[in-house]
Amino acid sequence: MSVGGIEVEGREAVAAEAQLDTANVEGRTQWQLTWRRLRQDKVAMASLVVILIIVALALAAPLFVSITHHPPNVAYPNTGEDVAGNPVGPGTNGFWLGTDGTGRDLFIRILYGARVSLFVGFVTTAIGAVTGVSVGLIAGYFGGVVDTVLARFTDAVLAFPYVVLALALAVVLGPSLSVIIAVIAFFSWAAIARIVRGQTLSIKEKEYIEAARSLGAGPFRIIFLDILPNLLAPVLVIATLYVPIAVVFEATLSYLGLGIQPPTASWGNILADAQNFYQTSWWYVVFPAAALLITTLAFNLLGDGIRDAMDPRTERVFAAGRARRRRRRGKRQALADGGSDVSHVVPSVPPAGGS
């Protein structure tokens, strides 16, 4: 053990430590350490704040309606459109960000679009995470035929062009929120399952799993006590990085007309209509696009930040001497010190439909 950064062994060390520390010191959990590191990452913290603001704004949308007196689906052809029938710009006639093609309050519609996007983002990621973790765990832990079948099925799902599926479902079910959720969840569970399977496979090789088996632990105990806790870190990173993918997915599908139908506001269908007004009303394109961009950027930066905070290679919170020795011992020990190897956790290529 280390006393003041110097390695000391044996009974003298025990005595020395007893003098230094108080009894029953609790070790800091991995989560506490990660949070500490995350707090020092300014970019990640800023992103977290931005996300909280967006969520707050979305939840407070009805409040803004009562302030501006402009419900999201009500058109104002008199105050909201100019002589030629085009949208009016930001700041005119009490429209904070201007109006859209039919004279509706753009700001309010963007807020309501945020509700849709965040809802879809969180719900589909949650579904995808739960399903993906289950499938990935089972495939990774049990191996053999189960693994082969599940892994190939997962690969097939991943390679499937999502647009085709969206088209087909839209024909049968009619374009709607359900189509979007079905398609996105269908894709995201597969991506998460693949990563979880990989992580499970590498965790399974660790000696402490073998130790648990030699103690007589059954598969469930091993899965829940030994494997799952080591999975939570990569899964959290992946989930955070998948929310923006889901948000973009929804926007793309709504843009194509396969998702949320007008008059319900969605950033996607707002931007679809905005195409008719390029020449005259730049705000109609810029503001919804900015909202989308800021949201996805914030989640991406936060996800990257969490991943870096969890990866022990990037930062040393401890004394320099210990750090030098750790660096020499390398990644192997660093991982054993409570980090997880999340450095390779990168979400699958987001669909080119914009992801």
Partner: protein, 348 residues
């Protein structure tokens, strides 16, 4: 075997064979070969004693250990524990036996779950076998920690906060929890600094004395094995080359491989070191997928003759040896022989 008849044998292995299939890639995997990890090994460990198992990487010693512990199924042969046949027992039947057979692992950094507290790790055996719970379990764990030289007040710490040597002690405490009869030590000190090794070895010796433990001690370092073992088995490529009580094997090794291994260890006495020449073995350890014909050691053996590539030698008592010291070699090393001076075309 290594124990004379009538002695109390705790673990016996008879003609143990473990082959791993080698599969080709592709959708439908075909078996294209076998890894002969363990090929017809027989040995036994008397109660309360330590059998040292030595060999290079690929010799099959770790595989043998895992077969003994019931962690991997056996291809053929028999494992007997305390009079019971435990070969390939189904999980349920094996469960109570797990209290009696325990393992200590090599890597202190990956043999403990980094996410769990040390108290929970050591308390695992109590939880799994439902022998103690709550405060009683905590007390038992803290007693164990004290016994192995850890501060019981570190109950709530994570493995990351301990040094390598201490982590191995945690592993020892975990193995000791249910007072097993047999502890299989798979290279328990190989990953530790030399100065720490002695401490852990001393701890193991103390525990053996206090609790009447039986050890199967696996290592690749002969000097470590000499320190702890009552008898020694030397493995090469899945087979046992030499087997016997410690002093005869170290004092008068018969198998050329044993002799070569011993010559590689630095001698404490500088005079002896000056006289003794290193025996350099030619070539690398062949692949266990396609072991050499006849005696598996013959491609690298300085004493090899044509007979060695045709006929696989069996374990036999060689001239002048005790009944418990057996060697598998057609041309064993005799007293006064200096292998370093022997060429491959070999004159003795």
């Amino acid at each position: 075997m290594s124990a004379p008849a009538g002695d109390d044998v705790l673990v016996r292995v008879e003609k143990l064979v473990k082959h791993f299939p080698v599969r080709s890639g592709g959708l439908v995997r075909r078996t294209v070969g076998q890894v002969h990890a363990v090929d017809d090994v027989s040995l036994s460990v008397p109660r309360g004693k330590t059998l040292g198992l030595v060999g290079e990487t690929g010799s099959g010693k770790s595989t043998l250990a895992r077969c003994l512990a019931g962690l991997i199924p056996v291809t053929s042969g028999r494992v007997t524990f305390d009079g019971r046949d435990i070969t390939n027992l189904p999980r349920r039947a094996m469960q109570p036996l797990r209290r009696e057979i325990q393992m200590i692992f090599q890597d202190p950094y990956s043999s403990l779950n980094p996410r769990r507290r040390v108290g929970a790790i050591i308390g695992d055996p109590f939880a799994i076998h439902k022998t103690a719970a709550g405060a009683k379990r905590k007390r038992a764990v803290q007693e164990l920690m004290e016994r192995v030289g850890l501060n019981p007040e570190h109950y709530n710490r994570f493995p990351a906060e301990f040094s390598g040597g201490q982590r191995q002690r945690i592993g020892v405490a975990r193995a000791l929890a249910l007072r097993p009869k047999l502890i299989i030590c798979d290279e328990p000190v190989s990953a530790l600094d030399v100065s720490i090794q002695a401490q852990v070895l001393n701890l193991l010796a103390d525990l053996q004395r206090d609790y009447g433990l039986t050890y199967l001690f696996i290592a690749h370092d002969l000097e470590v094995v000499r320190h702890v073992s009552d008898s020694v088995a030397v493995m090469y490529l899945g087979r046992i080359g030499e087997l016997g009580p410690r002093d005869p094997v170290y004092g008068s090794p018969r198998h050329p491989y044993t002799t070569a291994l011993l010559s590689a260890a630095p001698a404490a006495d500088p005079d002896t070191a000056a006289i003794r020449k290193r025996i350099i073995l030619a070539g690398d350890v062949p692949s266990p997928i396609d072991p050499p014909s006849g005696c598996r050691f013959h491609p690298r053996c300085p004493k090899a003759q044509p007979l060695c590539s045709q006929d696989e030698p069996q374990l036999e008592i060689k001239a002048g040896d005790a009944a418990t010291h057996v060697t598998a070699c057609h041309f064993p090393v005799m007293a006064g022989e200096n292998l370093a001076a022997v060429g491959r075309s070999g004159s003795s």
